[in-house]
């Protein structure tokens, strides 16, 4: 029965095949859909180009047998995804709930690391996009303007892929494994037009620009939060060991209170809770930033 249904829906053209595949992948992560569609498109277009003297429907029918029917291909990609699925489980493994359980959550530490990496990488992205865009505009009247713009846009796509790797490693969101397949348009100008019309080119540049202020914010929040919480915890010990008044709030009442045993206890408790608050913040950042990156960097 399923055979006859499949036969009725056997794709005749590459576009139809891709549409069926997209429908079969409904509900999968967008990055997985982008990868699967890109692979299928590359494969099918190459086969059709190799057999240019045969009708497309015939080639697609033959190729579908070797490459797999759209629903089979979708099932395979999902299965492979599950085989290698360790990222999601790593996040969900700790079933314990509660305020302090965050210390066992790998997502919090991934976010922490990402917040520290985001600043230098964000500066790099920002400079790259600003220099690239302004040089592209400035060189547009010269012969080298067009190739330069093409190179710049290509570099933006590769950077989107690399940023995807960072996001996937540290934030645990499935990101694309490959660049989306090249547009089939022929010729230089239509190709540039297609690149400029591609929403993802612009959203990636937007992401790269915004990564500088975001990186500054992430970095500052993380470093301040960690330094403050850890020094609040360690301060009383340091004072006791060195026998010097290290902690100064700039307020006589607070300073006097902080040197009493009760004040020390309160300080350490505040620092302790603050540390976990920072971890919670980092976990929230992990989830939010991963969603934002998926929305801007993945072709939909």
């Amino acid at each position: 029965m399923s055979q006859s249904i499949a036969a009725q829906h056997a794709p005749r053209t590459v576009d139809e095949y891709l549409r069926l595949l997209r429908a079969a992948l409904e509900g999968a992560p967008p990055a997985l859909i982008q990868d699967a569609l890109g692979d299928a498109e590359d494969y099918l277009r190459e086969e059709v180009a190799l057999d240019a003297y045969k009708p497309e429907s015939e080639v697609v029918a033959r190729v579908t047998r070797a490459f797999g029917r759209p629903e089979e291909v979708a099932a395979e990609y999902r299965a492979v995804e599950q085989r290698f699925e360790r990222r999601q489980h790593a996040g969900e493994r700790t079933g314990r709930r509660g305020f302090f359980a965050v210390a066992l959550d790998p997502r919090a530490y991934g976010g922490l690391l990402y917040a520290l990496v985001a600043l230098p990488v964000g500066i790099l992205y920002f400079v790259w996009v600003v220099v690239g865009l302004s040089l592209s505009a400035g060189l547009a009247i010269l012969v080298i303007g067009v190739p330069f713009t093409l190179l710049f846009i290509a570099s933006v796509r590769v950077i989107a892929l690399l940023e995807g790797r960072i996001v996937e490693l540290l934030l645990g969101k499935r990101m694309p494994r490959r660049l989306p397949s090249d547009e089939t348009v022929k010729g230089l100008w239509p190709r540039i037009g297609a690149m400029l019309r591609d929403r993802r080119t612009w959203s990636t540049m937007f992401y790269m620009i915004l990564q500088l202020p975001l990186g500054v914010a992430y970095f500052t929040i993380t470093v301040t939060g960690l330094a403050l919480s850890l020094s609040l915890v360690a301060g009383p010990f340091a004072e006791a060991i060195l026998d010097r008044n290290l902690i100064q709030f700039g307020n006589t009442g607070l300073d006097r209170f902080s040197s009493t045993p009760l004040g020390m206890g309160v300080m350490m408790a505040v620092g302790f809770v603050l540390f976990f608050l920072v971890l919670h913040l980092m976990r929230g950042l992990t989830i939010l930033h991963a969603r934002y990156a998926e929305a801007t960097l993945v072709k939909t």
């Binding site: 990868d35 699967a36 890109g38 692979d39 299928a40 590359d42 494969y43 190459e46 070797a66 490459f67 797999g68 089979e72 291909v73 099932a75 395979e76 990609y77 999902r78 299965a79 492979v80 995804e81 599950q82 085989r83 290698f84 590769v158 996937e168 494994r177 490959r178 660049l179 397949s181 090249d182």
Partner: protein
């Protein structure tokens, strides 16, 4: 006892295909050197046809999917600057280790299955 509404899946076909494709890709990369996805498919198909098995035990799409994941897991290395159709994959140390383990596991499983099917001839296998 048949179950309602659906039969349980006795064989994990998709998983089996993925593993077969994965090991075939790793083995081909290890013995014949770096290749693109398409070259890998051609090599594996040719070798399989010579060995008398013209139909691959996995879909071509599976190999593509597996290559992405193998690369991400660090078993193979793909060149970054070429587009996917021209992207060349080569073996990494991690991949060699996995390949050796997987081949040993499959060799053992194959032997056990054959011996179980023909216990009288087991000594000669």
């Amino acid at each position: 006892m048949p179950r309602f509404p659906a039969q349980p899946q006795l064989f994990d076909l998709a998983g089996f295909e993925a593993e077969a494709a994965q090991i075939a890709a790793l083995a081909s990369l290890a013995t014949e050197g770096p290749a693109t996805a398409r070259e890998l498919l051609n090599r594996i198909s040719r070798a399989a046809a010579v060995a008398g098995e013209p139909v691959l035990p996995f879909k071509h799409a599976t190999l593509y999917a597996v290559l992405h994941e193998l690369e991400f897991a660090g078993a193979i290395v793909g060149s970054v600057w070429e587009g996917i159709p021209r992207r060349v994959y080569s073996m990494a140390t991690q991949g060699r280790m996995w390949l050796a383990q997987a081949q040993e596991r499959w060799r053992a499983a194959h032997l056990v299955i054959r011996a179980a099917a023909a216990p009288r001839e087991a000594a000669t296998l």
